[in-house]
């Protein structure tokens, strides 16, 4: 058996006294796309944040290609060079133009020259239909446009693993399709992705595997066809039932 790209072993995390992640085990292979679903507050965002060390955890281990993420061999920023993340709230730099938001990390962290970084940025912006906004500031864009810039910013560093936290939550329905295509393209290129989403159609479409989280535990994980048509755990069934009632499946 080959080493998984991301291996999460017995991960446990508290925020103060609150148990947020409870003995989570999850392996994600290279080229695999895993979707995380679950109710609000179930710990999905926290799980992603633990993987690129944005928040510390209390117990367990996370490995990238077999190397623990706190291994000194990653150096100060080595881990972040391997992992890209897109946030629920975009978190674009408001004082920088779109193009500078996208090229900041390639230039300052990866040492790419300005022309090369900008060429790549324009290419990626074009892919997401954002080319014309390159010289605008984030506050001049709609939420959906800002989220697409955030995706481009995460892709610009050519990460090995991409973590996406509800990236379609802010998009207009007619824009979701375009983003979905981008994610599908990335999948076709072999990008390893972990995707938190409330869009079940999106999960069914793009995931190799879907994990259902409740109160910090992975209660069920299986291929999307199985999980959505024949959920095993009563909690999963209840959750999906609510989603169907809300008309989101």
């Amino acid at each position: 058996m080959s080493t998984p790209r991301v291996a999460i072993d017995d991960l446990t995390k508290y925020y103060g006294q609150t148990l947020v992640l409870d003995e989570v085990f999850l392996d994600v292979d290279e080229h695999e796309v895993v979707c995380l679903i679950g109710a609000s507050g179930s710990g999905k965002s926290t799980l992603l944040r633990c993987i690129n060390q944005l928040v510390p955890f209390d117990h367990g281990e996370i490995r990238i290609d077999g190397v623990a993420i706190d291994d000194p061999s990653f150096g100060k920023t080595g881990l972040r060079k391997r992992i890209g993340i897109v946030f629920q709230a975009y978190n674009l730099f408001p004082h920088l133009k779109v193009i500078d938001n996208v090229t900041l990390a390639p230039r300052k962290v990866h040492g790419v020259t300005k022309p090369d970084a900008e060429a790549r940025a324009h290419e990626l912006l074009g892919l997401l239909g954002m080319e014309e906004f390159a010289r605008k500031y984030p506050e001049q864009l709609s939420g959906g446009q800002q989220q697409r810039v955030a995706i481009v910013r995460a892709l610009a560093t050519n990460p090995d693993v991409l973590l996406l936290d509800e990236i379609t939550a802010a998009l207009d329905p007619e824009l979701i399709g375009g983003v979905l295509d981008v994610i599908r393209d990335l999948k076709a290129q072999g990008m390893t992705m972990m995707i938190v989403t409330h869009e079940m159609g999106f999960a069914r479409d793009v995931a190799d595997r879907v994990c259902f989280l409740e109160e910090g535990r992975i209660l069920e994980e299986s291929p999307p066809q199985e999980l959505f048509s024949d959920p095993q755990h009563p909690s999963t069934r209840r959750f999906l039932q609510r989603i169907i009632e809300a008309g989101r499946l």
Binding site: G84, A105, H110
Partner: protein, 291 residues
């Protein structure tokens, strides 16, 4: 009421060209408010002027404070002193802006190795912010030259200015720090996630936003310093107030103080207006962003 107005404005906008703006205003309706303002203001101030100038002390006041000949005679010295004030002000502004950031960064550093810098910043700010500026000016402006340390200038003007710089650096660093703390956590997370180091995060993400947040507050400090440079007169530095004092001591006439006052006002009023304008623009920008 406002919703009513919004509702009635809506169809008009959709219909294309706006209706002509109340073309039915009569000249009387249009100019009456302006006329009332002008006349009432003139009346009040005219009356005030009457009362003051008709007082029996007025001729004495006029001679002591508003003697045109004395003003003209004192102007050259007071003005050259005022240039010293403004020179100190400009140089101090630049130095304070830089030192303030440095102290603010010290104070907001995290991690055990940064503890000495953090402690230094806290002590520095407490001491310098808590001491009256005039005491700092006296201590440095008179104290340091008295030490006669070889190789160090004994210029009172220089050391007095250093005192102002040190005091204002403490205020300024606190302003910067409030700006740094106002930057949302998501910005640090995003920068960290992109692989930026702690220093790069500060340099490229946090500080530019922090500085932009506090520009109005910084300008307010700049206006305050513009007046506080007059404190240098207490150590005998030959600036505007000191020159005016010298003139008064010689002639027993206070008109030179009025000259100094006018010179300061000519500098501070535009500066304060500029600050108000920047502050207003800044508020509008924030409002737009939250809408």
């Amino acid at each position: 009421m406002s919703s009513e107005r919004a509702a009635s404005a809506e169809p008009a906008r959709r219909a294309g060209p706006r209706p002509p703006v109340k073309a039915t205003l009569s000249p009387r309706e249009r100019y009456a408010p302006l006329a009332i303002s002008v006349v009432s203001t003139a009346l009040v101030f005219g009356l005030l002027w009457r009362v003051i100038t008709s007082s029996e002390n007025w001729p004495l006041i006029q001679r002591q404070f508003f003697d045109v000949d004395a003003m003209r005679a004192s102007l050259p010295q007071v003005f050259s002193g005022f240039l010293v004030n403004m020179m100190v002000w400009v140089i101090a502004l630049v130095v304070i802006a830089v030192l303030g950031i440095v102290v603010a960064i010290f104070r907001s550093l995290t991690g055990p190795w940064a503890a000495p810098l953090r402690v230094f910043a806290v002590i520095y700010i407490d001491l310098l912010r808590g001491t009256p500026s005039i005491l700092l000016v006296l201590l440095f402006g008179l104290g340091v030259p008295a030490l006669q340390i070889p190789g160090m200038t004994t210029s009172r003007l220089f050391w007095g200015s250093v005192a102002l710089v040190l005091g204002y650096t403490a205020y300024t660093s606190e302003v910067y720090r409030s700006g740094i703390e106002a930057v949302p956590d998501g910005q640090r997370a995003a920068a960290k996630a992109l692989g930026l180091t702690q220093w790069q995060t500060l340099r490229f993400s946090i500080l530019p936003q922090a500085v932009r947040n506090v520009i109005p507050a910084l300008l307010n400090l700049a206006v305050a310093l513009q007046k506080d440079v007059a404190l240098l007169s207490v150590i005998g530095a030959r600036e505007a107030v000191r020159e005016a004092q010298i003139f008064t001591a010689r002639t027993f006439n206070f008109s030179s103080y009025i000259v100094a006052t006018v010179l300061f006002l000519l500098a501070t009023i535009p500066m304060a207006r500029f600050t108000d304008w920047v502050t207003k623009r800044d508020q509008e920008r924030r409002l737009q962003r939250t809408l």
